[in-house]
Amino acid sequence: MDILTTRNIEKRFSNHLALDDVSISVPEGSIYGLLGPNGAGKTTLIRIINQITGPDKGEVECFGRPMKADDIYNIGYLPEERGLYKKMKVGEHAIYLARLKGLSRNEALKRLKYWFEKLEIQGWWNKKIEELSKGMAQKIQFVVTIIHEPKLLIFDEPFSGFDPINANLIKNEILDLKKKGSTILFSTHNMESVEEMCDHITLINKAKNILSGHIDKVRQQYGSNVFELSFKGDVQTVKDSLNLNYELVSHSEEAGLIKAHIKVNEYSADNRLLGLVLPVAEIFGFNQVIPSMNDIFIQVVQEYNKAHGLKS
C-alpha cells in the first residue's frame, strides 16, 4: 500500500514553473529517495507534502485518502533550512517543538529524556542553543523531528552538516525507524547513502519527474550492457578478438590482472563474448557492471537536458 501519493502536482512561482506534473508514490515501510540537481523542485514538492505551501494543480493523498490539515501530526519533517531559537535553552526548546506537534508537556518530557539518553546528550538540557555547535544542534533537530513517532518521516538533506561519525549514527537511526515501521522520504545529494538505504527513488530535473522506480530495477536498467572481464594476457589480442557487437570501453591493470570494461551492443550476446575471448586469454572473472547511482544521476540528467535543449 502507498502511504503517500502525489498526483500531477503543478506549482508556479511568479517567473518560473517549480513543479510540472509531478507524481510519486511512496510505499508504506520503505525508504524513498528524492534526487535531483539543485533547484530542480525537490524542496517545493516536500513543502507541498508538508502543507507549507499549496499546489496550483494536482492533489496529495496521505494514508490512503486525500490529505487533511491534521495529517501533519503524523508527519515528521526535517527541513533543509533548519535552525533553532538561539536564546532558548535546549530542553525548553525541545519541549516547545514537541508540544507544537501535539504532545502534552509530560509526554514530551518523557520521550525527550529517552532520546537524550540514547544519543548521550543529557548534559545539554540546560545549555543555550547558541552554545551548541552546528552538529550538536542538528542532533537536537533530528530528535524533535521524530519525537511524536510519526508514520511518515521527511528529511531534506539529512546528512548535510554532520561529521562522518554522526552521519553514520543518524543513518543507523533512520534504518532503525524503518524497522519499527516508519516510512521515510528523503532528499539528498549523497548518492552513496541512496545506494545504501533507499528502496525506491525519484529523480526530479527541471520541475519534472524524469525517473522513478525501485532502485535495483533502475540500476539494472541503466547498467545491463557493460561487463567487466578480468584476465591475464595481452589487451590488444583480446581487443582484436572482439567482433562488431562488442566494444572495449576501458581497461586497467591491477596486480598483473587486467580488468576490461566491454560494452555489449546486443543484449542477448553476452555469452558469446566469453566464447570469443576464451581462446586468447586466461579468464579470471566475468560479471555485469552495475553503475553507481552517481553515474545514473549524471547520465539521466544530461541526456534529458540534451534531448530538451536545456542547459544543465
Binding site: 511568479s14 513543502r47 508538508n50 507549507i52 505551501t53 499549496g54 496550483d56 501533519i72 508527519i75 519533517y77 526535517l78 527541513p79 533550512e81 533548519r82 535552525g83 533553532l84 531559537y85 538561539k86 536564546k87 532558548m88 516547545y96 517543538l97 508540544r99 507544537l100 506537534k101 533537530q141 524533535v144
Partner: protein, 448 residues
C-alpha cells in the same frame, strides 16, 4: 487553535524573562516619576531661601519702590559705587547688586544686575516688571492727572481664565486646558513611541526566525498565520503587562513622593481651597472682584485632575494603543518576512513610518484645535487615529466619533492583517534576497 496559545506563551515568556525587559519595566516609571517629582521638589526648595539684593539707584526714583516678596528683599544703599561692592561682595550677604542708571526712563539697558551666581529667571523678570511698572507710573505722573493714584489702582487688573465645563447632567466642572494639553501631549506621544517600539519588536522577531532558519521547522507544525498572530499577540501581552506596571509604579511613586515632599496629603487638599499668596503684588488683590477666591495653580490642577474622566482616558489609551499596535505590527511582520537581516528593513519600513510621523505632525496642531476639521479626519483614518484620537480624548470627544473611529480601526486591522499574512506566508520561506513592495504585492495574490 490551542497551538496559537503555545506560540503566544513562548513569545511572552522568552521576552518577559529577559533582563532588558525587567530593567526597562522598572526604570521607566522611575524616569516618569522623576519628571513629575523633580519640579515639585525644586518648587518647594527654591522659594524657601531668603535673598537680599543691594540696590544702587543713580536715578533716585526707586527708593523703596521695588516690590518685595516673601523671599526676595531689597536693601537701598546711598553713596556706594558698584566697584566698591564688587571688592567686598563675597564677604557681604547680598545675593546680587542691582544697579539702576540715571537714564533709566529713556534707555532700557540702564538696569544691570551683578552677581557671582547666575540669577534665576524668576528674579530678573520680577525686577524688570517692578521697574517697568514704576517707570510707567512715573511717566503717567508727568501728565498731571488728578487722583492719579486712585485711577492707577483701579485700572490694574489681573485676568486669569478659568475654564468650567458643563456636563450633560447640568453639572459644572472645573477643567483646565493646560492639563488637557499636557495629558494629550504625553499620551499621544507615548502611543506613537510604543507602536514603534513593540511593532519593531515584532519585525525583529520575524527576522530572527528567518535568519536562524527555524521558520520552516515551526511552520511544518503551525500555520504561518498562527505563527504570525501568535507572535503579534504574545508581544501585545508583553506590552500590556509593561504598560500596566508602568502606570501602577508611576502612580505609586508620585503619590509617595508628593506625600514626602509636599507634606501630608491633607495639606495638599487644604492647599486646594487656600487663597493664593500670589496676591502680594499691589494692585491685584484690590482689583479682584469681591466674593471670588482664586486658587493656586497647583490647587487648580488638582481640581481639574480629579474632574478628568480617567476611566475613559486610560481605557481609550489602551484600546487605541492596542488597535494601532495590532494594525502596525502586522505590517512590520510583513516587512520582516521579506528581508534576511535588519539592515535591509529601512527602505521597506518607510511606507509604515510615514503615517505615524504624519500623525505626530497633525498632533501638534490638534493640541491647539482638538475639534478642527484636520484633527477630526485624522482621528477617523485608522492609520493615524490611534495617535490623534488620544490627542483629542482629554478635551472630550462625542461618543459616536469614538465608536466610529474604533470600529474603523478594528475593520482595518483585520483587513491589513489578512493581507500581511499573505505576504508573510510567502516571504518567510524565501531566503537570500531583499524583496521589494512590488514583489510583496505579487505575493498577496498567490493562493495558499
Amino acid at each position: 487553535m490551542n497551538k496559537i496559545f503555545l506560540v503566544i506563551e513562548r513569545e511572552f515568556l522568552t521576552r518577559v524573562r529577559k533582563k532588558s525587559f525587567i530593567i526597562m519595566t522598572i526604570l521607566t516609571p522611575l524616569l516618569f516619576a522623576g519628571i513629575m517629582i523633580v519640579p515639585m521638589i525644586i518648587a518647594t526648595m527654591e522659594d524657601k531661601k531668603e535673598r537680599n539684593i543691594a540696590v544702587i539707584d543713580d536715578s533716585g526714583l526707586f527708593k523703596d519702590k521695588i516690590t518685595e516678596t516673601e523671599y526676595l528683599k531689597f536693601t537701598y544703599l546711598d553713596g556706594v559705587s558698584v566697584p566698591d561692592l564688587q571688592s567686598s561682595f563675597s564677604e557681604s550677604n547680598y545675593y546680587a547688586v542691582l544697579y539702576i542708571g540715571r537714564m533709566v526712563a529713556s534707555s532700557p539697558d540702564a538696569v544691570i544686575l551683578y552677581s557671582d551666581k547666575q540669577p534665576s529667571m524668576d528674579i530678573t523678570s520680577h525686577i524688570s516688571s517692578s521697574i517697568r511698572n514704576e517707570v510707567e507710573t512715573q511717566k503717567l505722573k508727568t501728565y498731571d492727572i488728578e487722583n492719579l493714584e486712585e485711577i492707577l489702582k483701579n485700572i490694574k487688573t489681573s485676568i486669569k481664565v478659568r475654564t468650567i465645563k458643563w456636563t450633560k447632567d447640568g453639572e459644572a466642572k472645573e477643567s483646565s486646558s493646560e492639563l488637557a494639553f499636557g495629558v494629550a501631549y504625553i499620551l499621544s506621544f507615548l502611543v506613537y513611541m510604543l507602536i514603534f517600539l513593540f511593532g519593531s519588536q515584532v519585525m525583529r522577531g520575524v527576522i530572527e526566525e528567518k535568519s536562524s532558519r527555524i521558520i520552516e521547522v515551526i511552520v511544518s507544525s503551525v500555520k504561518p498565520f498562527q505563527l504570525m498572530m501568535g507572535k503579534i499577540l504574545g508581544i501585545a501581552a508583553v506590552s500590556l503587562l509593561q504598560i500596566v506596571v508602568w502606570i501602577v509604579l508611576t502612580f505609586g511613586l508620585v503619590t509617595a513622593a508628593s506625600a514626602i515632599f509636599m507634606g501630608s496629603s491633607e495639606k495638599a487638599m487644604a492647599q486646594k481651597e487656600s487663597v493664593s499668596n500670589l496676591m502680594d503684588q499691589p494692585g491685584m488683590a484690590q482689583a479682584m472682584p469681591e466674593g471670588i477666591t482664586e486658587q493656586s495653580f497647583a490647587g487648580e490642577m488638582m481640581t481639574a485632575l480629579s474632574n478628568m474622566n480617567f476611566v475613559l482616558i486610560i481605557g481609550g489609551f489602551i484600546f487605541f494603543f492596542i488597535g494601532g499596535y495590532l494594525l502596525y505590527a502586522a505590517m512590520f511582520a510583513a516587512v520582516g518576512s521579506a528581508v534576511d537581516s535588519e539592515a535591509d528593513t529601512q527602505q521597506l519600513t518607510i511606507p509604515i513610518t510615514i503615517p505615524l510621523i504624519l500623525a505626530i505632525i497633525v498632533m501638534v496642531s490638534g493640541l491647539r484645535s482638538p475639534d478642527g476639521a484636520l484633527t477630526f479626519w485624522f482621528s477617523m483614518v485608522p492609520f493615524t487615529s490611534p495617535i490623534i484620537m488620544i490627542t483629542r480624548l482629554p478635551y472630550g470627544v462625542p461618543p459616536w466619533e469614538l465608536a466610529l473611529s474604533g470600529a474603523l480601526l478594528i475593520v482595518t486591522f483585520i483587513a491589513v492583517t489578512w493581507l500581511a499574512a499573505k505576504i508573510y506566508r510567502v516571504g518567510i520561506l524565501l531566503y537570500g534576497k531583499k524583496h521589494t513592495w512590488k514583489e510583496m504585492w505579487k505575493w498577496m495574490r498567490y493562493n495558499s
